[in-house]
Structure formats: structure tokens, C-alpha cells
């Protein structure tokens, strides 16, 4: 067991957790932040992507106990003053989601792309999102939504 201090979605928390609790499990089962989803056991699907210190990571690849002092943002932490993030707005406007299961990871990953590349091309968006599997949309409207968000951010 280890005590960790983290800032999650702007709130400071302090928890005693076991050394081998994955960040994804920690967020879902201990903090009840169930917007972060688990779609596979092999770090392949990307449904669990969150931001750790501003960078997107698959939260199933990190132990929560190793992240002492980090700032973590999950899908629940994107809205500001009740207003959705431009990426969330763009996904809604352009129908970038259907069943919604891959969506949190997809949105978190796409936001990180725009931090590094303000005006990505279609190809750059598709290559960046290669680590996030969506079974519903065929990706077309996701790509369109990321471009839309880029034009608004």
C-alpha cells in the first residue's frame, strides 16, 4: 500500500492504494469516475485515455501509485463552468460518436493532438488516433470533429 497525493480534475485528493492498482481501475472503482472506460486488457483500444500532466496516456498502462504529485484530467474534467470543451462540442455537432464507449478516450486523445499540432491534416489525425479503436463510426465523423475543433480552439 502506498499513499498518493494527486490533483484530479482540479481537485486535490489523497488516497492509500495498493502498489499494483492501475490508474484506470483507480479512477473507476475508487474515485467513481466511470467516464474512463476499459475496453481491452492489452492497452490496444484506447477507451481509457486520460491526461497526466497534460499528456494523453492509456490509463491501463500506469500504476496510480507511481503518479504521486501528478495532475490528472479525465473526461469528467473537461467542461468549464457547465460548458463543454470545444472538442466535445465538435463531436456532438458532427456526430463523432454512436454508442459512446470509445468516446472519452477518443476525445482525450484528440485534445492532446491539437496541443502538439494546431492544424492537423486528415492523415495526421488518422495516424494520431491509430491507438483508439472505434467500432461504430468508421472514424469519418471523428476526423471531421477533430478538424472542426481545431478551427475553434
Amino acid at each position: 500500500m502506498k499513499k498518493v497525493n494527486l490533483e484530479i480534475n482540479g481537485k486535490k485528493i489523497s488516497k492509500e492504494i495498493s502498489d499494483h492498482t492501475l490508474l484506470s481501475v483507480f479512477l473507476r472503482d475508487i474515485l467513481n469516475l466511470t467516464g474512463t472506460h476499459i475496453g481491452c486488457d492489452t492497452s490496444q483500444c484506447g477507451a481509457c485515455v486520460v491526461h497526466v500532466d497534460g499528456k494523453s496516456i492509456k490509463s491501463c498502462t500506469a500504476f496510480a501509485a507511481d503518479l504521486d504529485g501528478s495532475k490528472i484530467t479525465t473526461i469528467e474534467g473537461l467542461s468549464q463552468n457547465g460548458k463543454m470543451h470545444p472538442m466535445q462540442e465538435a463531436f456532438k455537432k458532427l456526430h463523432g460518436l454512436q454508442c459512446g464507449f470509445c468516446t472519452p478516450g477518443m476525445v482525450m486523445s484528440a485534445i492532446d493532438l491539437l496541443k502538439n499540432n494546431k492544424k492537423p491534416s486528415d492523415t495526421e489525425i488518422r495516424e494520431w488516433l491509430e491507438g483508439n479503436i472505434c467500432r461504430c463510426t468508421g472514424y469519418q465523423n471523428i476526423v471531421a470533429a477533430v478538424k472542426e475543433a481545431a478551427s475553434k480552439m
Partner: protein, 792 residues
């Protein structure tokens, strides 16, 4: 008020999904819950000689361990096949028992044998290792083409044959073939797929010992049907003591139609151990135990004249059922396949013969398209082969054989009410710049690449209903749909539907329909689904049936609301109901300015009397309140159709296929929300392209699934797909008041033959089987070089 049907309304469901507020089954936790972990067979076929749970029972945190022995003692029933299919000789199909926990024999890797309940998932998992099972390993039947000659898997099922089914007339086909100038022959496999909804299956069950009610939250496409099966066949609890809730469900694609072992076991066990239970599948468990799709071997023949007229068609198919027959397992390769195998063409004679066999693999059932992708792949591949052998253009040969008058009596079963296949193909040809292909091919060749173009025209029978027809064909239930429309006293509307949305957007499209029917703003309409305690009953969502069956039930219930509203408004306005018109949410007396809004009428229905300023006496004999329901059973299936054209570029040095262009022109009749329909087409295309290029479920000779993770089973990712070019034509369905046809499966039906026809075109007609992996294509390119060198 402008009509909402036809407009791009943004989805009402999105905000919760985008802000992490969706509520999927795995997000649900119940106080004092235990965690279930299933012990599964590591062998494809074995006899269980001993199960010892004593060590596991003593392990840390273990609440209980249950086996097939316990479930048999409590007389809990197993899983069932939903459709009874007869063989050509009239004999009944043969289905083995499928107990929720295997007691004596296991028949595929992943077949559940025991379950451990513990205080934590880690403890349940650790204790599962202590369940000691002795097996006598038997030779697994894995190879589909050899399965009928192999060992018998199930007692009394000779040749592992469930049925040997025939649709059509062998004699007529023989006569047609005798007259033909040419017989085109084709041998194809339709590769086995795993649906892979992104949300793994899960269930959370709570038993209340006081009310004796079991509540099962589960990842289902049809909670009402699951409750029916669990109660009537499983004997878990009477229906009124069993509540099944399918909350937000993260995709289904057919894999969540079935009621599964885990739902029965956890529901039964929660009563037994008097604790809530949570079970969530790991992805590998999903790969092993979700129902798989497709898996056919087909020999097809097409009889043609020298000028490209079709005279007759036949196919002999072996379909893999896997280890057990499940809900749609037996109908998918028969009535959902055979009738569509003659395609969109006038085909004077045809038959389809299907042998469905058991193997020691996961059960095979409906997967997006279910039977119709297999049918379309068969006919569209052989039509292309005919074009090649006759030296005709693939568009020309198709145009030549289209029906031009509707209704069109299709060869084997269906009476197609409406369509215009010529218009669809013309539009696709134009949008795809078909005529510019040869220039693009030259350009590719100048870069050392090969380029091919592929065409498909399809129709499909979806909107699965009507009850009299499906029951005649063997379905165990009627496939109607229900709706209930409740007007609140203050004017908002709640609509209950028996269908279920797991990505299809019912909350939006059904609200658009109700808004138009009732003249109520869409913000004031809520759609409720997925809970057997809310709403009447429903057969669920699959086979592109939600809108064409469930949506129409909503229309009809709304019409009853308007009818009652007219009677009430007439009384309020002192007019005859016959003189009251309803338009844009207002009841208006003809030739007058007297009117009441539907909100005022609804309010009046809840205040049936006169007092002070309230003046709303109901007509004599009229009940108070404003709530109506409807069950809709359509007169026929719906028959969407389309024309798809793809272009591929192949690097002959690596065999890599780049899908460069994809055009789809579909006819779905009236479109309720174009944005959502486009999304459905995109998703279907991605799955169909996945089948053609990358996806393949593969078992080794011992029956181990060797593609049981996302590293081995290759689903399309964003960088594997092009931007799709979509178009629509519209011939309205005549069998429902909205004129709608199903759209959910079209992409997965049209894409596989379109892509494969393009690849084979690039390979100068060389046949290859799906998926067209780089290795297969590279080998074909090598052959091509050899042939070319020889010719030189």
C-alpha cells in the same frame, strides 16, 4: 412548425456520453456486491471427469463456488435456438442442450464450467485457479469443410449436422442450366468474424429477498427478450419477479442479441447466495465467448447467356454453427441468407442449399447483416466473375439483369415493394467517376502500382418482422414491436419503446418522429428504452428493425393520442370531432378560429370536469388521462438497396492494399436524420471493409482461438480507412406510413464484395479469399508477374 423528419437534429444522447456521464453496466455498483469470475474450459472438446471445488471454497474472500451440478440440481434451463429450421427431407433440425454451466462435456475453449463469487475480483480470480478439474481430452472438430466426416460432437447428432436445408427448386434450376451458354463457377469462403462491440459484456445482478425480485443489469440489445428466455426457458424466476435492464450499451452488432450463460448463472446465483453479483468480461473472454459471425464455405454457380442474361443460380453452402445453436444461429445461414443470394436481379430459377454443422468453436450467430453479407458476397462475386468471363463491363452486366418494375417478386421468397436499382447504380457510377478510372489506373501503373475498381449492387431484407411470416419460417416468437406514449399533464411527452439503442440514436430519431406526429417541441419529448419495468414489451434491436418496426409503433401510438385529442378538443370547443383538424400541435375547428393546443387538451384530459375557470368536461364515456400504446406488425420486411464502387491501389512489392476511394449510394426510403444515417453507413462500411481486408477469427487445429486479442484480431483503425463518398436515392417503402427502410446493416453488406471485386480486378481476375491480407495479395502479385513474364 417545420417537419423534423428529414433534418439533421443533433443527438440528445451525446452530452452524457461526451462528459463521462453515460451509465454502462460495468459502471454500476451495488452495495455489498460480490465479484464473479468464471472457470472456463481450456480445451475445445473434453469430457469432464472430476470437478473439485473444496480448495477454492476455502480461499480468501470466497463467498461461494457453483458448478453445473448445482445448476442442474436447481433445474435451471440452458440456452436456446430461437428458430426451428427443417431439412430438405422434412426432418427437424438437431440442437444439443446448452447448459449454462457445463457439467459433463465441454465443447469450445471458453465454455464455462464453474463460477467463483468473492469479496473482490482479485480474490475471485485467485480462487478460480484452485478449482480442480480433470478432463479427458477428445479430438476437436475444427475444420469446417471436414466437420461432417469427423467425430460426432454431440450425442445423436450424426455428421455434426444440424440441418440440410433447401430453398428453391432443383429441377427448375437444372432446366435453366441446361439452356445456358455458359456456367460460371465460384468457390468462396466467408471468413469468420468476431463482432467486437467496444464495451465487453457484463452483468450486475441484485436479488431482493423480501420482494423476491431479481434485477439484472446487462449488456443486451433486447432486454425484454432476455427476460422472456431467462424466465420461460431458464426457469430463473417468473417474469414478474425478473427485471432486466440494459442501460447504456456500448455497441452490439448482433453479439448482444443472445442471452448468455453468465446472465443466467449470475441471476440464479444472486438468489442462491443472497448477495448482489458483478461480472464484467475481460476482452479475451469476449473474444472466446461472444457469438461470432459469418464462417461459410460456398460453391456457387450462375447460368448465363453469351450476352450476359442470367438464367439460373445455385449455391451449396456449409455454415458453421460453432458448438451450440443460439437464438439467431440457425436462421442466419438460411432465411436471412438464401433469399438474398440471388441479389438484385431477375433470376428465373434458383436454389440455395445450406448444411449447418457443429464444430468445437464458439457459437456463431447474427453479426451485423447476418446472412445478407454472405448472400451478397456470393452473388456479387459470381456476377463479377461472369462479367470477366464474358468480357463485359461489370456495370453493364448488372444493368442488364435489374428488375425495372416494382413491386418485384424476387426469385425465392420476397416481394420487394419498391426500389430503383438503375437510378442507384447510375448515380454511384457518376459519383465514383467510373469513367475516369482508366486514367487513374495509368497513373498508378506509372508509379509501379496496380489499381482495380469493384462494383456491387445489393438489396437486403431487413426490418425483421412480420410475425406471421417469420413464425411460418420457424421463428419461436412474433417479431412485432411496441410503443407507449404518455402525455404528462403539463405537456411533456415520454415515449416508451420496446427496441433498444446501443449507438443507433433512438433518443433523437424517435423524438423527431414523435415531435412531428404530436406537434410538441423535441426538447419536451423523452425516449425511454431498455428496462422491462418501463414500457410494455419489445423484441429488441437487430436486423435494422428499430425504425421500420419500433418507430412505426410510435407513430401509431401518437396517432391514437391525436384521435383522442380530437374527441376531447371537440367537446371543449363544442364542435363535432369530425370537424376538428390536427395540425402543428393544434386542434382547429374547420372554418372557424376556434382551437386548442395539444398541451391544453392534454391538461384537460387530467382535469375532467368544470370548476371556476377550468372548463374541460370529457366526452361521455371517455377515460381521463392521455396515454396510448400500439403494437406494430408490418405487412412485410423492408428492402433497402444500394450500389457501391471502390478503388484500390496495390503495391506489388509488399502486397499492401490501399483502399483509395469508396462510393456508396443507398436507398433507405425516407431518411429521418441524414447525419445519423450517414453515421450508420460509415460504421457498416468500416466493418465490411474490415472483413475484406484485415479481420479473421482463426482457430488452430486443436481448437484454440489464436486471434483472441486486439493484437491478433485486426479491426480497422482510423488510418486504415479512406473518407467515404456517400449518396442517396429514395424510393419510399410502401409498407409503413413513414416510407422508411432499414439502414444499419447496409455498409457491412455492400462493402466486402465491393472491395474484393476491386482487388481481384487489380489482380487481373485472380481469385483470392477474404481477408485480402498483404501476404495473400503479395503472393497473388507474384503469380501475376509470372503470368506476365510467360506471356512476354
Amino acid at each position: 412548425m417545420a417537419s423534423l423528419v428529414g433534418s439533421r437534429v443533433e443527438r440528445k444522447e451525446d452530452k452524457r456520453f461526451l462528459t463521462g456521464k453515460g451509465r454502462y453496466t460495468a459502471d454500476i455498483n451495488i452495495n455489498n456486491q460480490t465479484y464473479a469470475y468464471f472457470v472456463r474450459s481450456p480445451h475445445a472438446r473434453a469430457k469432464i471427469t472430476k470437478i473439485d471445488i473444496s480448495k477454492a471454497l476455502k480461499a480468501s474472500g470466497v463467498v461461494d463456488v457453483l458448478t453445473g451440478e448445482h445448476i442442474a440440481k436447481d433445474k435451471i434451463g440452458g440456452l436456446i435456438a430461437g428458430w426451428a429450421i427443417r431439412s430438405e427431407d422434412g426432418s427437424e433440425m438437431k440442437c444439443p442442450p446448452n447448459p449454462p454451466l457445463a457439467k459433463d462435456n465441454v465443447n469450445f475453449v471458453g465454455d464455462p464450467i464453474a463460477v467463483v463469487f468473492a469479496e473482490s475480483l482479485e480474490e475471485a480470480k485467485a480462487a478460480s485457479e484452485l478449482v480442480n478439474i480433470d478432463y479427458k481430452i477428445l479430438k476437436a472438430v475444427v475444420n469446417l469443410s471436414e466437420a461432417m466426416k469427423d467425430d460426432t460432437i454431440h450425442k445423436d447428432i450424426d455428421k455434426n449436422l444440424c440441418y440440410d436445408w433447401l430453398l428453391g427448386d432443383r429441377q427448375k434450376v437444372k432446366e435453366a442450366f441446361d439452356k445456358a451458354d455458359k456456367i460460371i463457377k465460384l468457390d468462396i469462403t466467408n471468413n469468420r468474424l468476431i463482432p467486437n462491440a467496444m464495451e465487453p459484456r457484463a452483468c450486475v445482478v441484485d436479488y431482493n429477498s423480501a420482494s423476491e425480485e431479481i434485477t439484472c443489469y446487462t449488456t443486451s440489445q433486447n432486454p425484454h427478450l432476455s427476460r422472456l428466455i431467462m424466465s420461460a426457458f431458464g426457469g430463473v424466476a417468473p417474469e414478474h419477479k425478473l427485471r432486466v435492464v440494459a442501460p447504456d450499451v456500448g455497441g452490439g452488432f448482433g453479439s448482444k442479441i443472445n442471452l448468455y450463460n453468465e446472465e443466467i448463472v449470475c441471476s440464479w446465483a444472486s438468489k442462491k447466495i443472497e448477495r448482489p453479483i458483478k461480472w464484467v468480461a475481460e476482452r479475451t473472454e469476449s473474444f472466446l465467448t461472444d457469438t461470432h459471425g459469418r464462417d461459410h464455405i460456398t460453391h456457387a454457380e450462375l447460368a448465363v447467356t453469351n450476352d450476359g442474361k442470367f438464367l439460373g443460380f445455385k449455391n451449396e453452402t456449409i455454415a458453421n454453427l460453432g458448438a451450440y445453436a443460439r437464438v439467431f444461429g440457425t436462421v442466419t445461414p438460411t432465411y436471412l441468407f438464401g433469399p438474398c443470394a440471388t441479389g438484385v436481379y431477375v433470376m428465373p430459377a434458383a436454389y440455395s442449399n445450406v448444411k449447418a454443422v457443429y464444430t468445437n468453436t464458439a457459437p456463431v450467430d447474427a453479426y451485423r447483416g447476418a446472412g445478407r453479407p454472405e448472400a451478397t458476397y456470393t452473388i456479387e462475386r459470381i456476377v463479377d466473375k461472369a462479367a470477366i468471363e464474358l468480357g463485359m463491363d461489370p456495370i453493364e452486366i448488372r444493368m442488364k439483369n435489374f428488375p425495372t418494375e416494382f413491386p418485384f417478386k424476387q426469385t425465392l421468397v420476397h416481394q420487394i415493394d419498391s426500389g430503383d436499382y438503375v437510378a442507384g447504380l447510375k448515380k454511384a457510377k457518376e459519383m465514383a467517376d467510373y469513367d475516369g478510372f482508366s486514367a487513374r489506373k495509368k497513373d498508378s501503373e506509372s508509379k509501379g502500382k496496380l489499381r482495380g475498381i469493384g462494383v456491387t449492387t445489393y438489396f437486403e431484407a431487413c426490418g425483421i418482422a412480420p410475425s406471421p411470416v417469420v413464425m411460418m419460417l420457424g421463428c419461436g416468437v412474433g417479431l412485432w414491436e411496441s410503443a407507449e406514449v404518455r402525455f404528462n399533464p403539463t405537456g411533456q411527452v415520454t415515449v416508451y419503446t420496446g427496441s433498444h439503442s446501443h449507438g443507433q440514436s433512438h433518443q433523437t430519431t424517435f423524438a423527431q418522429i414523435a415531435a412531428d406526429e404530436l406537434g410538441v417541441p423535441i426538447e419536451n419529448i423523452d425516449i425511454v428504452h431498455g428496462d422491462t419495468d418501463k414500457g410494455t414489451f419489445g423484441m429488441g434491436t437487430y436486423g435494422s428493425r428499430s425504425l421500420t418496426v419500433g418507430g412505426i409503433a410510435i407513430v401509431n401510438a401518437c396517432k391514437k393520442i391525436v384521435d383522442k385529442g380530437k374527441r376531447v378538443a371537440a367537446k371543449m370547443l363544442e364542435a363535432s370531432p369530425d370537424d376538428v383538424d390536427f395540425k402543428n400541435g393544434e386542434f382547429v375547428v374547420a372554418n372557424s378560429n376556434k382551437k386548442k393546443t395539444i398541451g391544453e387538451v392534454a391538461f384537460a384530459c387530467y382535469l375532467p370536469g368544470v370548476r371556476d375557470e377550468v372548463k374541460s368536461p370529457l366526452p361521455e364515456g371517455e377515460e381521463p388521462g392521455l396515454k396510448e400504446s400500439a403494437f406494430f406488425d408490418p405487412a412485410n420486411f423492408s428492402f433497402p438497396a444500394g450500389s457501391h464502387i471502390a478503388e484500390v491501389e496495390i503495391d506489388p512489392e509488399t502486397g499492401e492494399v490501399k483502399l483509395d476511394r469508396y462510393t456508396a449510394v443507398d436507398d433507405f426510403g425516407t431518411i429521418v436524420n441524414p447525419t445519423i444515417v450517414e453515421g450508420q453507413v460509415h460504421g457498416g462500411l468500416a466493418q465490411g471493409i474490415g472483413q475484406a481486408l484485415t479481420e479473421n477469427a482463426e482457430y488452430d487445429e486443436t481448437g484454440q482461438l489464436i486471434t483472441a486479442s486486439y493484437m491478433d484480431y485486426t479491426m480497422p483503425r482510423a488510418d486504415n480507412l479512406p473518407e467515404f463518398n456517400l449518396g442517396f436515392t429514395c424510393t419510399k417503402a410502401t409498407t409503413n406510413p413513414l416510407g422508411v427502410k432499414g439502414c444499419g446493416e447496409a455498409g457491412s453488406i455492400g462493402a466486402p464484395p465491393t472491395v474484393m471485386n476491386a482487388i481481384i480486378n487489380a489482380l487481373d481476375g485472380q481469385e483470392i479469399q477474404m481477408p485480402a491480407t498483404a501476404e495473400k495479395v503479395w503472393r497473388a502479385c507474384k503469380n501475376l508477374k509470372k503470368t506476365k513474364n510467360k506471356a512476354a
